[in-house]
């Protein structure tokens, strides 16, 4: 169990895990499937349903579908309460590789020899 799992359901909860193949965060649905879309996650209103959900999760772990399942507390809107789980749900809060599209090494200008003779006299 991860450090941020909840032991009992105050408002509601959902089950989060990592997909074995991709490692991506996935959520247990009411049909016992796993989805990457949190809006399709099974919102668990009480301890009984949470217990049932975790049994599904254990089976899925045993069947090598997912790893590291645990319960995440959610508020009345179904949103994760803790920032750690909010980040797991939404992905990193920062834009990675901002210049990925901007730069292409093929656009690098031809490497100049002209500078050499110009600078040589100075050094």
């Amino acid at each position: 169990m991860a450090n941020h799992d909840v032991k009992s359901v105050d408002v509601s909860a959902l089950v989060i895990a990592n997909d074995l193949l991709s490692g991506r965060s996935v959520y247990l649905t009411e049909t016992g499937d796993w989805t990457e879309r949190v809006e399709n996650a099974w919102q668990l209103p009480d301890d009984q349903s949470a217990e049932r959900a975790m049994k599904y999760a254990k089976t899925a772990e045993d069947e090598n579908q997912i790893i590291g399942a645990y319960l995440v507390a959610t508020d009345t809107t179904g949103r994760a309460v803790h920032i750690r789980e909010q980040l797991r749900v939404n992905g990193p809060s920062v834009q990675f590789a901002p210049h990925h599209e901007l730069i292409n090494s093929t656009t690098t200008q031809p490497l100049s020899d002209a500078h050499k003779s110009l600078v040589d006299e100075l050094v």
């Binding site: 990592n18 074995l20 490692g23 991506r24 590291g68 690098t108 500078h115 050499k116 050094v123």
Partner: protein, 570 residues
Amino acid sequence: MYQYDEFDQALVDQRCLEFRDQVQRRLTGELSEDEFKPLRLMNGLYLQLHAYMLRVAIPYGVLSAEQMNKLAFIADKYDKGYGHFTTRQNIQFNWPQLAETPDILEALASVQMHAIQTSGNCIRNITTDPFAGVAADEEVDPRPIAEWLRQWSTLHPEFRYLPRKFKFAITGSANDRAAIKLHDIGLRLKRNDAGETVVDVWVGGGQGRTPKIAQLFKPAVALSELLPYLEAILRVYNLYGRRDNKYKARIKILLAETGLEKLQAQVEEAYAAINRQEFADSLADLERINGRFIQPDLTESGAIADAERPVWAMRLNALANHSDIAPQERKHYTEWLTQCVREHSHSAHASVVISLKKHGDIPGDMTSAQMRGVADIAQSYGYNEIRVTHRQNLVLPQVAIHDLVSVWRALQQLKLAVSNVDLPSDIIACPGLDYCALATARSIPIAQDIAQTIEKVESGAQGMTVNISGCINACAHHHVASIGILGLDRGGVENYQITLGGQSDQAARLGDRMGPGIAADEVAPTVERIVHFYKQERLTGERFNETYQRLGKAPFKSVIYGEEHVAKTA
């Protein structure tokens, strides 16, 4: 650079085959996650918040252009087009798929790279001075020694399950740029009066929740004795290091609990018991390794070393006034020369630091296009070599001075001609809660906010370091920064503690905690006020830590919390 021999290549190739089989067995269910986890970790494969993360070793931070191109290929084919350079001089990929990781390891092996011992309780990647072999102030090149230790420690059967991970750093200069006193073992290579290489062995440094500066454990160890002596230290640590509490398992705790003299005596006893025959060939091995370091011919560029070295500052001034630089470019070029170009042992060459800290970007991140661009520059102007620094930047260790203008122009196109090396916006930041499963708060967006906030005021604050860690494990070295920032979780809200006055060089010192933590949106303005205050109060030529030591904590606490708050809590 070191070139693999057939044994090195066979070892990494064999490991690829072994890991492919392990992954296959995991995917078919033959291995459970509990069984597979230690195997994947031994190959650098972690499971983080959003995905698997693969940590690739860059031994002592040295990369060839070909290897950098391969990292770009991996970033594009198996990840999201970028990688993250770390404070251990490694690179991490944040989004690989499990089934593809054996292919990644094979791609790495094809260019003499691997991910072995980038995780687990073993001897990790050995780090060193990014200017090793080229620094003007260097006494001994640490790279062959680092490679010697890498070969000794790789898959060492006795040290694969140590009480905790174990980190080495090595420097061959009096000016320590490898933070050796913050490692489990730090090695300082020097010459004795007879001109022989000897090694001061420092033990027990480290950061995390119990930061410690290493103590000089044994001075002037002869090279012939180094491996058996290190083996003795590891043997004692393996025997007596605590395994009951992972937070007390590092050798720094063993040293603190045992005491220096007693631990030294235990090591001497272990050292005396070592079968020296096992090390009979160690110096011959070092000689062999030396022979596999291909040193570039620095005369190829046509740059001839001067018999009398001009003063570096005069040389930079001459370069800055170069006629090929347009008047509107001169300011930027001069700033870049001043901040990013370092003196080389060969007077017609320089080392270029490439900042991966463009204001507002993610510290240490690099796109595949930038990787390819830097590889191109290294091939054209840098003798094919690139270094990774523990401050999450890159170095082109040897560039002919007459090529600096061209390198600057090429870096500009890659958005990498960023003139903030050793300024406060040259921030070390761990991945933090945006990626890391251990983190308690975010560090990247705080670092971005700080860098953008102080961009206009940081000029002249040379050597003032800002390091930010997203948890107590201190991956970003916040304990040894001029301004250290530690992100914590306070009741579900991110909160940031400030320390001041730390440094990681030969005069290593842990920073002083200033007081209660502050909110995320207060961090950048607070850092800005500290930079302002330092610039206002410093004496001529005084570095931040000197000003801090002279003035003491009190005025800085007022700058951070306000005079009213300080008065109330006094």
